[in-house]
């Protein structure tokens, strides 16, 4: 077969496939009827081989490009992911995938927690030893002076109560989820950025706690923080663990190529961080509606701790039945 005859005999197939492919540009494969779908599956392999033949015959570059373009568009249509049902996928993810992922990545969660505990204890003790150290950890945010507390514990809650609840809950959710996403994304800096997020936040919290207890307001402080804070901090630590998973996949690739290790790490990490969203939503509602309420402080603390323990119990116990792991499907 001469190049010219090749062009002549095959042009019909290319034109047909090109017509079919261009039909799908807006609506995807759904734009095709049964007959066209059938033609697509029959024409594509032949045209893919034409790409190789065109190279062999060394026909003109423009035509080579054209056949290649048609073949690659058809390839994209045929070898695509099957359409997933999002609601079912999400449901299965939280029933099986997420708890399993959490248990598999426990070393990273431990690592984040250890770093957090060290920093919060450090800043708390340091504030106890020297009260003015609080200003190092929470620069420009304290309105309590050392001589005169100015506001009582009641006032803190009172000020909080004046903010309308729904917007506050929404704002808190949005802000916390953003922090979680950033803790994950900054993991790409070999985990350094994520460590910064943990250290910064734990020192602010430790500094505040130390400062309030210096003024004898420890109970007010914890009954204000704990209802939403315990779950929030837990969720932030899980997000930070996702960032560490991402970062350490770069630093310690093991037997994989560094680029491949990063991709594997990112697949784990992104699911770990996305799974924290419901925790932040729950914590946001608590912070918006329960924290400023007139329920006794001890009750609030018990509520916060209980919800967090329930979350951890879910993560440890759920998804142990023998349904195939969700990860292996994707």
């Amino acid at each position: 077969m001469t190049p010219a005859r090749f062009l002549e005999t095959r042009a019909k197939a290319w034109n047909r496939l090109e017509a079919i492919v261009s039909k799908t540009s807006k609506k995807g494969v759904r734009a095709l009827d049964d007959k066209e779908l059938h033609e697509l599956t029959r024409l594509y392999p032949a045209v893919a081989i034409d790409v190789a033949r065109a190279r062999m015959y060394n026909i003109d570059p423009m035509t080579q490009k054209r056949i290649n373009q048609i073949a690659i568009s058809a390839h994209g249509l045929l070898y695509r992911r099957k359409n997933v049902r999002y609601l079912q996928t999400i449901w299965e993810f939280f029933c099986y995938g997420y708890p399993r992922l959490f248990r598999r990545l426990w070393p990273y969660i431990t690592l984040a927690t250890v770093l957090f505990v060290i920093c919060i204890l450090g800043s708390y003790v340091s504030t106890q030893v020297k009260p003015s150290n609080a200003y190092i950890f929470v620069p420009g945010q304290l309105d309590l002076t050392d001589e005169d507390p100015g506001v009582s514990g009641k006032d803190i809650s009172e000020r909080f109560r004046r903010i309308p609840k729904p917007p506050m809950a929404a704002g808190i959710m949005a802000n916390n989820i953003s922090v979680a996403f950033k803790a994950f994304a900054l993991g790409i800096t070999a985990g350094i950025g994520t460590c910064y997020v943990i250290i910064f936040n734990s020192m602010v919290l430790g500094g505040f706690a130390g400062h309030f207890s210096n003024h004898g307001l420890a109970y007010e402080f914890w009954s204000f923080i704990a209802p939403h804070g315990v779950l929030e901090i837990f969720a932030i630590l899980v997000s930070a663990a996702a960032g560490l998973r991402l970062g350490l996949s770069l630093v310690l690739p093991g037997e994989l190529k560094r680029s491949a290790s990063l991709r594997v790490g990112a697949q784990d990490a992104v699911l770990l961080v996305l799974g924290t969203i419901p925790m932040f939503i729950i914590a946001g509602f608590i912070e918006g509606f329960v924290t400023p309420s007139y329920i006794p402080g001890a009750m609030k603390i018990i509520l916060g701790v209980t919800i967090t323990l329930l979350t951890i119990a879910y993560l440890i116990l759920a998804g142990r039945s023998s349904l195939p792991d969700i990860k292996s499907k994707s």
Binding site: M62, G76, R80, V84, A174, F181, L246, V270
Partner: protein, 271 residues
């Protein structure tokens, strides 16, 4: 940095993808961010219309307004983190800016982008966006497949889907060919008039740039007048036959020219 990338299909054929350049990706990103800014503007106007002053929201009592404010906060949040995720999910890897620039995100190994990869590349956008996307720019510059950090972690590339213009183009560089001297040896061997030879010769030099359709249109127009004049006839209208006819003429001409120059070479050698 390359401008193309190869993927191997299950048919064992290597297909060539052209990668989107930093420039077109930057413009696409700019368009998307303009669209995001427009959405924020609409939200802000909505706030004003409903009469909520953002700064003075503390102390408002109207329950409906409070819930509306909450919803607006959540929508703003969803736009910030979800704009790219949702568009890339529902349009198979094309945000509106990318659609306008005719570029698309795909998996490195070929095929449509997965949800996980969409989430990874767009959550990492906050890092890529540091310094006005300077981080993304540098990473795209140093990686072979023009990937930003998000693409590296997600295993994605952005490809260009611009369909090249297949019609024959006038090439300025080759214009000189029109004025190339026609040797008398070539004319003698082929029995063509100078203008006829020039036309065929130019066609021959440019045949690689023409696609089948263009050739089908052009060749009969070139050859039929010659055939009419010389009284020859060709068996069919087939492109193959016509091209072979031109090829024969050119081969004849080349041979004649070579012999002619050989003759002069020999002459010089003798002298």
């Amino acid at each position: 940095m390359q401008d193309f990338d190869l993927i191997e299909t299950p048919e064992n054929v290597e297909l060539e993808r052209s990668l989107a350049g930093i420039g077109s990706r930057f413009i696409a990103g700019l368009l998307d961010n303009l669209l995001i800014a427009l959405m924020y503007l609409i939200l802000f106007v909505l706030l004003l219309v409903v009469g909520i002053n953002v700064a003075g929201s503390i102390g408002i009592s109207n329950a409906a307004e409070m819930w509306l404010l909450a919803i607006i906060i959540l929508i703003a949040f969803a736009i910030y983190w979800g704009y790219f995720v949702l568009f890339e999910m529902y349009t198979n890897g094309q945000s509106p800016g990318k659609k306008y620039m005719k570029i698309r995100v795909v998996q490195v190994e070929g095929g449509g982008i997965s949800f996980n990869s969409i989430a990874i590349r767009n959550l990492l956008r906050v890092v890529d966006a540091i310094g006005g996307y300077a981080v993304a720019g540098i990473t795209m510059f140093v990686t072979k497949k023009v990937q930003r950090l998000g693409d590296l972690a997600a295993g994605t590339v952005v490809i260009s889907e611009e369909v090249p213009n297949y019609s024959a183009r006038y090439d300025k560089k080759k214009k000189i060919l029109d004025n190339e001297a026609i040797t008398s040896a070539a004319l003698e061997a082929t029995g063509l008039k100078p203008e006829e030879y020039r036309l065929l010769h130019n066609y021959w030099l440019r045949r690689d740039e023409l696609n089948v359709e263009a050739k089908k249109q052009l060749l009969p127009q070139l050859i039929h007048p010659i055939l009419n004049r010389t009284g020859h006839s060709l068996a069919t209208e087939s492109l193959v036959v016509l091209e072979e006819y031109v090829e024969k003429i050119m081969a004849k001409a080349r041979k004649a020219e070579q012999e002619a120059t050989k003759g002069t070479d020999n002459l010089e050698a003798e002298l």
